[in-house]
Subunit: 230 residues, 2 copies
DNA sequence: ACCTGAACACCGTTCAAGT
DNA sequence: ACCTGAACACCGTTCAAGT
């Protein structure tokens, strides 16, 4: 793309990196990965680049534009594969799983995704691929179009849920937080919450991933059934 | 500073309300409805109550607790009905629609919902009702439990999407923003995005509500099919 | 004992002034 | 012409001091 390829320098004193949108987004993503979205402030990004906050505005319109640029960069990490008639269903799972994992590696970015329409270049790249898989699976054109939206929503929401679990569970695996929820459910008054108390095991079973893939399967099942009905 | 003559009333506020968690949450919800989530700051809430920000901390642990309390209050607005075998499916739609509408009336609260585990008293009330409807519909216990989570996620995500559309479209109906997206999709290079450009009509058709109920139906279809398969 | 003024350590963004 | 120091108008939260 660019003529002057430079090694991506973020931390550890890269002598002096000339300011650019790319460098700013790089620095922001570094902060995001290590300290989460709340830590990504204009001032923090600027100080990471050894300059004042005002200088960022030469390259980026503001905080929201920076967040959108970060989001697009995260979507760029998702690898795509061509549709295969025999494997379209697992390909859908694999694609959405890649989106989920990419977001989970950048805690807080899912929140940004929900606040921005999915029309950035790399979001469109993913959407184009997902549409292809759904059509290959025999889903109707209208259903595929809407499912594309719904599946994205679901993936983003799952990523946010994962972010929250991790933030609450701190260093430990999900189990600790889930245990808390299980205890909370179990100690509810059964008279007022007969179903929740009776289904505590089911409500707290499965990992986030299992629930995510369950939802995808249920949605695909529904649309395939709908296509079969005509 | 004469305190006997007349309490200095701020605008049309009910004279002097004694501070309490309820009064604080009330004030916060008022700001939320009129100016959105970003405007709900500890300082703004305090000034609305004619006091300093420090005083709020006597009744509320902090900003996040205030947001959680606001969320629970919004969930309290949802009316429930007893499951009816013949109408369970439309009852699911009605329940989730009520949750969606309640959130849409409080712009930004959906973001709070995604950041908090759905274990507040009124969230549990809604979950208990939804579980009952799904079980009445013949969905398996495990599927009902997970679907409860997925449907909540979907509803919350839809509410956020509605918030974003409204924020972008400003005063006008959705159409203006949708037109923009349609134009953006249409002007994409067909060689790189053959499906998106070919499906622009389908991708941008339907209101948010239609897409929302489509997603619910597809999910329910999938789970009913699953239950039928055994 | 209860409440809060004032302070601390931050924000995003702007713009006049400097180079 | 380009960049940025300094300022403006805000944040959430704490705690010593006042009543």
């Amino acid at each position: 793309m660019d003529s002057t390829a430079r090694p991506r320098s973020t931390r550890d004193r890269p002598a002096k990196a000339p300011l650019s949108e790319e460098a700013i987004v790089d620095a922001a993503l570094g902060i995001l990965r290590s300290d989460g979205l709340e830590a990504v402030t204009m001032r923090r990004v600027a100080s990471e680049l050894d300059t004042g906050p005002a200088s960022l505005y030469v390259y980026i319109a503001g905080r929201d534009e920076l967040r959108a640029a970060m989001l697009d960069r995260v979507a760029d990490l998702v690898a795509l594969e061509d549709p295969d008639d025999a494997r379209w269903r697992e390909q859908v799972h694999a694609l959405l799983d890649a989106v989920l994992k990419s977001m989970e590696a950048h805690p807080g970015i899912a929140t940004v995704a929900l606040a921005n329409p999915p029309t950035s270049p790399n979001s469109l790249r993913v959407a184009e691929s997902l549409l292809g898989l759904l059509l290959t699976g025999g889903v109707s054109r209208q259903d595929a179009a809407w499912a594309c939206d719904v599946l994205s929503l679901l993936t983003t929401a799952s990523a946010i849920e994962a972010d929250v679990w991790r933030a609450r569970g701190d260093t430990e695996a999900e189990s600790e937080w889930v245990d808390g929820v299980r205890r909370a459910f179990g100690s509810l008054p059964p008279s007022r919450f007969p179903l929740i108390t009776g289904l505590t095991a089911e409500l707290t079973s499965g990992s986030g991933d299992e629930r995510f893939h369950f939802a995808i399967d249920a949605l695909l099942d529904g649309m395939v059934a709908r296509a079969a009905r005509g």
